[in-house]
Assembly symmetry: C2
Homo-oligomer: 231 residues x 2
């Protein structure tokens, strides 16, 4: 597995690890080691993930702090939370084909752990931790400049931002006002519903959004209203 | 204020800022700017605090990750939470005399904001953010190696660790057992109570602790039990 992973990292990201053990550990679930009592490298991803989480927090914070010099702290915090979260990281892990290289025990494999969002997120963080440990922050920034930062300009994180809170905070700066979310339509079969919701401000519809849950549709409606208000 | 602050930083910590504006902003509350509409430097601490928080997360994570190579991820996370928290940071801020240099509006000053734990914590994080922005991570590590890391060996964070959770998790690895916390004594006048609590494991007292609240006394009792169990 390690050889294939190293070839992929070299080919896709021009990354070569000096410390092969830590890279291997970052892609190893403890259930795999439990089945192989004689393996020499006893490392698994949990500790490295702890480090990687903090590395991501800083790299993303620094990037958006500099990219948006006028953005207030509350919005920076919401944007960071949208970028550094299980949902985003698990998608990056799949996009980078990390899921193909995870070493799992048989039980976990049968339980479909390889597709589990939380595991994919952990592995992404563990990879970041291993890269930081092996090569330092600049190497991490170079990697996420390819994998994550371009998505910011593509609006990739907008749907994960807490637009409802932002809309409310913005409107309340200018005194009291009434914000109401209403259902426009629900379509599709039971297991594949699509919701459309709108948001009214003092009785006037200001945005409409669609999503797989009511909450996501409301977030999208709030996002549209913020755009309309030039926020 | 800036001159006094810079003299103190030079004298106590051998730190000299290149960017004076960001240092000034890190010690400025927005209420101060609201009263001085003509001030040129309109920066205040909130955005820099956002950056500083992430810097601290990484520096502390990296330090304990390397210092305790066998510590499992759950305990690393609890230790980090004890080190990177409002309670700890506000104490460091006071210890470093940062409270004396904060620029506050008159209303905030009257409301005793200068003693408020949350503000002191914010200012500490903002200073870290400013130092990182001005001089990079090595300068931050040098600073916290003086101010924070030595406290780890002095047991300074032990009372902030979630020892009760750790004790429970450790004991439950070995099957079911009964953990009971009991009151030993309450002493002192109404406004200055001291509680002593003990913890029994399967009916046997394993630790006793004292604190200003029942919860703190229980945490200390759990800590003593963990020590007894060589954890």
């Amino acid at each position: 597995m390690l050889k294939g992973l190293e070839q992929m990292l070299k080919k896709d990201f021009d990354i070569e690890f000096k410390n092969h053990e830590i890279l291997e550990a970052a892609f190893t679930h403890v259930s795999y080691l439990n089945e192989k009592p004689n393996l020499k490298n006893r490392g698994y991803y949990e500790r490295i993930e702890f480090l990687g989480d903090a590395v991501m927090q800083l790299c993303v914070s620094e990037y958006i702090f500099k990219k948006f010099p006028k953005m207030p702290e509350g919005k920076l915090t919401r944007l960071r939370a949208a970028m550094v979260c299980e949902d985003s990281f698990s998608k990056f892990a799949t996009e980078c084909h990390f899921n193909e290289y995870i070493r799992l025990g048989k039980g976990e494999e049968k339980g479909n752990a390889r597709q589990r969002t939380s595991l994919l997120c952990d592995i992404f963080e563990a990879f970041i931790g291993a890269l930081y440990y092996d090569q330092g922050k600049d190497a991490v920034v170079k990697f996420i400049s390819k994998v994550i930062f371009p998505k910011l300009d593509e609006g990739w994180f907008d749907h994960l931002m807490d637009n409802k809170t932002e809309l409310q905070e913005f409107l309340q700066q200018n005194g009291e006002c009434k914000i109401v979310y209403g259902e426009v339509s629900v379509t599709g079969p039971d297991n594949q519903r699509t919701y459309t919701m709108n948001v009214s401000i003092n009785g006037k519809v200001m945005g409409e959004g669609t999503g797989r849950t009511k909450k996501l549709a409301e977030q999208m409606a709030a996002y549209k209203a913020l755009k309309k208000l030039n926020k």
